[in-house]
Symmetry: C2
Subunit: 198 residues, 2 copies
DNA sequence: TTGACAAGCTACCGATCGTTCGGTAACCTA
DNA sequence: TAGGTTACCGAACGATCGGTAGCTTGTCAA
């Protein structure tokens, strides 16, 4: 249990990455420790030097995914003043993160129910901050009378859903040009949210 | 293996329903036959009177979900002439079906990779028809110059994604008034798709 | 040169997995 | 009332599950 997450312990993070990919593909319950061991080229026993149990592994994966999300999505976006531009960048960075980095584990939030209640609360709490970032941008747009007449909570859900959905497509049928996918998703979302230009 | 699916063998369908709910909640791999048996109040052995294996159970669930989708969503919507109204009704019926009926298993399409390739193809083929229904409506809207300048395939994905997303929310934090949720989702989607009224 | 330690390994544990077996009570039909 | 079918049960199967104990390395500081 490391307290200082300053530099990157490469092997451990590689295990997280690989485990996350497997779990996105086959689910938490459908991914065995043996599967993970085989995928990283180790034995089961060897893996247990990097984490203390399967449940804790999921917890670590979720946490480091949120860490990375904070670093490459939330933090850069937060400094943008205009709420519309902030939202556009938020979507762009989130999708890019899921494609280029292994940030795709965001999909795994659907698996957070396999954690113990205390761990679930921590994860949900951290996620709510990301949620709040979107909701805040929507509120600012509403104040500036640039937002359509819509339910902010439901709209927030739809935005979150669109981003995680794009990650899910990647793992099945969709193989389009990433930049095109990003631009279309941003345009689609903005059209849904903003009042039409006068 | 029944060939005539005319009337409803109640108990078998109850097992499908229950199994689907468990799998939505815990994933295919995370749901054991024992779990299902306990949930329906039977022994594991007794269950095997109703299906021949876990994989085939998933296949049957997916198929009967699509059957029901055809019946209560696709077929009623298909008869609506105006593409916009058709799309609105499509979204409404789909969400209603997921809430009131156990049609929520749509979420399980993310688990179709646990099937054998031949079964996967059948399911994907049937799903493509639902997909095509949306895409067709978008194309008609484009012909009538009522659609924004957008990528029809990606937009179709986003619509599908919004509908299945609503089903996913139901199973975690969201407990809003269904009619409100439906109206907001339709409004959000239409704003994203249609050119603003002149 | 030594020794501490991280990072692996082989070998194994009890529990649970999906699945099959033989049997049985209740019902339908002739 | 005999024969067959439907719907289930208890018990067990081999395989795999998550996890552990103890041994062997490679690396590097003292």
């Amino acid at each position: 249990m490391k307290l200082i997450a300053g530099e990157a312990p490469t092997r451990t993070e590689e295990i997280y990455r690989t485990a996350a990919e497997l779990m996105v593909e086959k689910g938490y319950g459908g991914t065995s420790i043996s599967d993970i061991a085989q995928a990283v080229g180790m034995t089961k026993a060897g893996l247990y030097h990097h984490f203390s149990g399967k449940q804790e592994l999921l917890f670590q994966i979720l946490n480091s995914a949120i860490d990375e999300g904070d670093r490459v999505v939330s933090k850069p976006a937060r400094s943008i003043e205009d709420p519309e531009q902030r939202l556009r960048q938020l979507i762009r960075l989130q999708i890019q993160g899921q494609i280029s980095l292994g940030l795709a584990f965001i999909v795994l939030f659907s698996e957070r129910n396999h954690l113990e209640p205390a761990q679930q609360k921590k994860i949900s709490g951290r996620m709510r901050k990301f949620h709040a970032l979107i909701k805040q941008a929507l509120r600012e747009l509403a104040e500036q009378d640039r937002l359509r007449n819509l339910d902010v909570d439901i709209a927030t859900m739809h935005i979150m859903n669109a981003m995680t959905g794009v990650a899910r497509w990647k793992h099945q049928n969709f193989a389009s040009d990433p930049e095109h996918l990003i631009q279309e998703t941003i345009a689609y979302t903005m059209a849904a949210l903003l009042k039409p230009a006068s």
